[in-house]
């Protein structure tokens, strides 16, 4: 458009007016897009500039320091010793268990909603899934507290944390599964039926492979959504100073450590590096899912 405008002199006043309107509109679009992306740029800049000092080998291989160690280091102007290993392992462990719980159930419910789209019961389930998506995460933490902490593990535990995260992941996986399957043309399904393929095999061997990248994207986005959750974990996993892989014991997580560091004036630097780490993981998950979407189309 620009080229056209510069190469030719437009004498028609109406056309000139339209072209200038066009430029004003394009300028507005660019300006507001820039305003939208500026926070994320600022956040990443701040995290890197404040957090890079603490990112070293120890950061990934040592447990969180105690207040005294941190205080000594800060007062002598050194880098705070220790890292966030207990948080990283706890986050990975709890997200893994949450995925094991949420992915099969979510996929099955998504397939059910897709197959029974007009049935009354499916409509009710779909509405409830939508409501579940809107439930505040701390409320889900409370639920997991009463179900698991009070009744199953009799204390704060990784299992309780995973349960809360799994409930958060469910609606995301269910809806993305349903939407992905909806996008597969019915003709592909009919091709299977016309070959005499039984129903369950069409779902397992035709629909799921055809929608694989979409399903994987939904799962990755659900994981990136819960990996930074703090509130429900406070009520369920509590946090721990140790690296823990016992499902029935309290467990740490990166966001829980950030909260701890925030409450300790000696560990301010660790807040930034932990946040940087978490942010990078979430960005990475989003980039991978973007790639998957690009591959699909």
């Amino acid at each position: 458009m620009k080229k056209l405008a510069s190469n030719h002199k437009h004498t028609n006043p109406l056309l000139r007016k339209r072209l200038s309107k066009d430029r004003v509109f394009a300028g507005g679009v660019i300006l507001f897009s820039a305003i939208t992306i500026s926070p994320i740029v600022l956040i990443i800049y701040k995290l890197i500039s404040k957090g890079y000092k603490q990112i070293n080998f120890d950061f990934f291989s040592k447990k969180a320091p105690d207040t005294y160690e941190a205080m000594v280091a800060v007062n002598s102007g050194e880098v705070i010793p220790g890292g966030i290993l207990n948080g990283i392992t706890g986050t990975l462990y709890m997200v893994f268990i949450a995925s094991v719980m949420a992915i099969p159930v979510g996929l099955l419910i998504g397939i059910f909603l897709y197959e029974q789209k007009t049935k009354r019961y499916a409509g009710i389930v779909r509405d409830i899934v939508d409501i579940l998506q809107g439930v505040p995460s701390i409320v889900l933490g409370l639920i997991a507290y009463f179900w698991v902490v009070k009744n199953i593990t009799n204390g704060f535990s990784a299992l309780a944390g995973s349960t809360a995260l799994a409930i958060m992941m469910l609606p995301l996986i269910i809806r993305s599964t349903e939407e992905t399957l909806k996008m597969i043309p019915d003709t592909v399904k009919e091709a299977g039926f016309a070959l005499g393929v039984p129903y369950h095999k069409i779902i397992l061997r035709v629909l799921i492979p055809s929608g694989f990248s979409g399903l994987a994207t939904g799962i990755l986005l659900a994981i990136s959504r819960v990996i930074g959750e703090t509130a429900p974990l406070m009520l369920t996993a509590l946090g721990s100073m140790e690296v823990n892989f016992d499902m029935t014991k309290p467990t740490s997580a990166v966001p829980l450590l950030i909260w701890d560091f925030y409450n300790d004036p000696n560990m301010v630097d660790l807040i930034w590096s932990s946040s940087l780490f978490l942010m990078m993981i979430v960005l990475l998950l989003n980039l991978v899912s973007k790639q998957l979407i690009a591959k699909r189309s």
């Binding site: 043309p185 592909v188 009919e190 039926f193």
Partner: protein, 260 residues
Amino acid sequence: MSELIKHIENPVLEIRKLSVAYNKDKSAVTNVSAGIKKNKVTAIMGPSGCGKSTLLRAINRMHDLYPNIEIQGDILLNGEETTHMSTILLRRKIGMVFQRPNPFPTMSIHDNVIAGYKLNGIKLKKSDKNDIVEKSLRDVVLWDEVKDSLTKKGTFLSGGQQQRLCIARALAFKPDVILLDEPTSALDPVATKKVEELLIQLKEHYTILLVTHNMSQAARISDYSMFMYLGELVEYGRTKDMFINPIDNRTEEYLTGKFS
């Protein structure tokens, strides 16, 4: 209905008083009876919405997928009532090709041809697999074009090639009957010509039932023709006779282009 062909000797497929209704008020196919002759191409013609696809899809019971459809009457395949057969076996004996080419998007060309075996969990030796793939692709005159790219995805082919791949997929099971639902309506003229030539060759071994809205296509390749209008089978006869000397007024009007 025309009395020209009321009875066909030893039909592969016999339709008896078939009615299909999508809901209580609206019948899509009304009281259709016809026999389909072995190793011939039979075309079903008619204007849009006359029930030709509905009739075709009743034959391999594709309507079973949609619970609100009501079907009355019988269809016999080699004398056996299709409603008494399992849909899985029935659909192996009656292959189907759709309006738009629909190869399985995740499968290679090779796997698409034997998809019927793969998806049904029928184990084959590797050499048998390759034989079936080669034979089916040769049958649809696609082998020379794709023999070096069998591992590529089926969707990598052009539209006409995809449609022939879909026909090969239907042939791989050696069905008795092949149903084609406007198989060339999404194809360009060159690809259409190839598919038509192919159908003429295929009738040597298979019975072909072809739905088309294209009269000249029916004239070119079919031996028998049905003309349907508003869900009724108006006229059924040898294609030659019907095009030269239609019996029913409505057939004549359709063939001369008074309505379409």
